[in-house]
Amino acid sequence: MDPARLLDAARTALVLDSSCDVPPGRRCANWRVIPIPVTFGSETFADGVDIDAAGFYERLERSERLPTTAQPSVVTIEEVLRDALVAYDSAIVLPLSRHMSGTVDRVREVAAEIDPSRLMVLESGSVTVALGLIALRLQAALERGVTAGEAEALVARLSSEHRAVFSLETLEYLQRGGRIGRAQAVAGSLLRVRPILQILDGEVSPHSRVRGAHRVLPAIAEFVEAHSDPGRVLHVAYAHSRRPEIVPALEALVAGVRPLAVTELTGEVGPTVGTHAGPGAFVVAFVHDGAAERGGGAAS
């Protein structure tokens, strides 16, 4: 895509994948979502199309076997991209981190065949509502109007500056799915060790470990304080798996240490990410308001 091409929300679609965990009600009119396949034994479901979070966790509970995720097929990707280009002049595609899935590379190949002049595929270095948060900041820029080059730079900045910290009930799902990356070092199911993990450079990395459930939230607050500036507006997203009551608690926690925090997004960890996180997990993702997008604001 020509870096000087002018993009705005009326003429530009934003294509995500189902790992972004943005609830349908929070998605904008110009958004399209590539469903990621989630397989239980011999049955495969398209995330968000024929299985939702509730159905997924219910099945997870009953299933004898752990689900797995796979890259979406070329056909699926092509369908979504072509559909986006029917109603919009161009599209920015923002799949999950390449360190977690090869989806972004497959999307690039498909986009190159369809129409590289109208499609721009960007590396998000993120997943779940952290990816959703990046998408919302990008959407705010599209609503003001930006060039393709500016959009690319904005995503690169958001990708490197955003932080995400999360807690899992168990590391098992992450380990079995092979998505553990550098988090391996914190494994330890004895003595109530709770790993605190983060998304760093597009990968799941250990941050610290604490003992006892009562130490998890203080560790999250500490993370937010250590990685944000009290004097700047902070855009925050939250998601949980089967633990809705944790979200208000997290919001209060973040508001306590960062009064300028604005909740941009709350969601549920869906089937794609839930396959690797399991139930009982939560994530807090945040990024500062940037000079380039100031005025985009928190209003949606």
Binding site: G41, S42, E64, R65, L66, T68, E169, T170, E172, Y173, R176, Q184, A185, A187, G188, S189, L190, L191, R192, V193, R209, V210, R211, G212, A213, H214, R215
Partner: protein, 502 residues
């Protein structure tokens, strides 16, 4: 050879001989059965579990000489239930119960029709005991065995009925692969079904005095995918509950919230409970409300997993810049320390120095509880750069290990470990039995009072005479719901209970 169509109830030795033959037949092929085990949990223990269950029956059979047939049957059924291990053992115990009930109901000779009735009783009882029967499992095989025995021509003698039953069993085993997708994927027959057939072949040989018929061979599994989650709960808990007119549905409902992998099998007089839970004493208490609880087993599954994971991860670990060496009394304490990423050795200057040398070129943090302080300092003085962390208690020592960072700087790691240890309030409790429980309650009360959410760690000494799971129950009895509890066998000489509150 004349088929011994017994006209009198066989003596205990005779029954033991038949059960023993079944046992031997399975023992010879238990590993093969284990290897086939991919359902319901691919943990490779079906053969072992069925064997242990059968061995429990053999023990009991010897003691049944002189009993009337009904009593003998009841004793065998009870032995199978009490001795039942794992899912396959639980279902096997129900097969035995069904067969025993059918045999007890008749007073004629043990002939072909009697065996057919027993096999039908076995199949029906097992189907009735499993809440959601799945085809392609040992249930299918038991049913095929019963159907084939019943289909034997009228007038068939004992040997002919057993032959027919075994043919049915072989067909049933072969059928399982097609019936259950997980078996089809792995390219195996059902392990439990094969086990049942092997047991029947062994028993049949003893009953007829013939050489054992070959049970079907199981193809070697193509893949054994370990994609099952281990339980999220800690204790694999099983116990027997006996009473009068017990409501097992109500018991099941009471146990359901406590964990998963719940099996309640048996009848209103006698039932076996199997459940994975974090609060085994609550499960036992729920059962104690309707009957007498016996034969309680708590297996710490997480500990087994953690030991395995620690072994595997050490093998794959990249070079570290900081190694934490823990020197402590008690094998359990050392195992826990290793589970958290430390290198653990026994107390003593020699062992500490050796572990420090082995860690080179990484920097070393030597961590000990008070008892090892002098030795640790002596070792450190001879090894410049060695950091020493001395904690006031065993729980504080374990708590400090949460700060292990193989990529960290030894001085920073040691400082963080001291801070983590400092956050633990520890008490040491000695005594035995009720006195120990009361001393624990008295010591914990003031520490927990008004504290709010907390974590209590109990390290159980080798002479404490109490199971960790029971010690956990003692803590839960005095602590609120927002207190997490974890007890482990530490194996230390003193104290009986080392307790940390943080």
């Amino acid at each position: 050879m004349s088929g011994p169509t017994a006209t009198t109830p066989a003596a205990g030795e005779r029954v033991a001989h038949v059960v023993g033959a079944a046992c031997d037949a399975l023992a010879a092929r238990a590993d093969e059965v284990n290897d086939l085990n991919v359902f319901p949990v691919a943990d490779g223990d079906t053969g072992t579990n069925m064997l242990l269950t059968t061995m429990a029956m053999r023990e009991a059979a010897r003691a049944t000489t002189g009993l009337a047939r009904g009593e003998r049957c009841a004793a065998l059924a009870r032995a199978a239930l009490v001795g039942a291990r794992g899912n396959s053992g639980m279902i096997l115990s129900q097969l035995v119960r069904g067969a025993a009930d059918a045999l007890a109901a008749g007073d004629g000779p043990l002939d072909g029709p009697a065996v057919a009735r027993a096999l039908r009783g076995a199949s029906d009882a097992a189907y009735g005991a499993v809440r959601a029967p799945v085809e392609g499992t040992m249930l299918t095989v038991a049913r095929r065995i019963a159907e084939a025995a019943e289909a034997a021509p009228a007038g068939s003698d004992l040997a002919a009925v057993l032959d027919a039953a075994l043919d049915g069993g072989r067909a049933g085993v072969a059928e399982t692969t097609a019936l259950l997708p997980v078996l089809r994927e792995a390219g195996v027959v059902d392990s439990g079904g094969l086990g049942v057939t092997i047991l029947l072949a062994g028993a049949a040989a003893a009953l007829t005095g013939r050489a054992p018929a070959a049970a079907p061979g199981g193809a070697a599994p193509r893949v054994v995918t370990a994609d099952h989650l281990p339980s999220r709960y800690r204790y694999c808990t099983s116990f027997l509950v006996e009473g009068e007119g017990m409501d097992l549905d109500a018991l099941e409902a009471a146990l359901l919230p406590l964990g998963d992998s719940l099996l309640v099998m048996g009848d209103g007089r006698q039932a076996k409970v199997h459940v994975h839970t974090d609060a085994p004493e609550r499960a036992a208490a729920a059962a104690a409300a309707i009957g007498t609880v016996d034969a309680v087993l708590f297996d710490d599954m997480r500990r087994q997993e953690a030991a395995r994971a620690a072994r595997l991860s050490r093998r794959a670990a990249p070079a570290a810049s900081c190694v934490v060496v823990v020197a402590a009394d008690g094998e359990g304490v050392r195992e826990l320390a290793e589970g958290l990423g430390a290198v653990a050795v026994a107390l003593g200057v020699g062992a500490m120095a050796e572990a420090g040398d082995a860690a080179a070129p990484a920097g070393v943090v030597l961590a000990v509880a008070a008892a090892g302080a002098d030795d640790a300092r002596a070792v450190a003085s001879a090894r410049p750069g060695t950091e020493v962390v001395v904690t006031s208690s065993l729980p504080a020592l374990l708590a400090s290990l949460v700060e292990i960072d193989p990529a960290g700087d030894p001085a920073d790691v040691a400082a963080a470990m001291r801070a983590a240890a400092g956050a633990v309030d520890a008490v040491e409790v000695d005594g035995v039995g009720d006195a120990l429980r009361e001393a624990l309650g008295a010591a914990l009360g003031p520490l927990l009072d008004g504290r709010g959410p907390a974590l209590v760690t109990v390290v159980v000494g080798r002479d404490a005479g109490v199971e960790p799971a029971v010690a956990e129950g003692w803590v839960r009895a005095v602590a609120g719901d927002d207190v997490e509890v974890e007890a482990h066998a530490g194996g230390q000489a003193v104290p009986a209970l080392a307790v940390g509150v943080e």
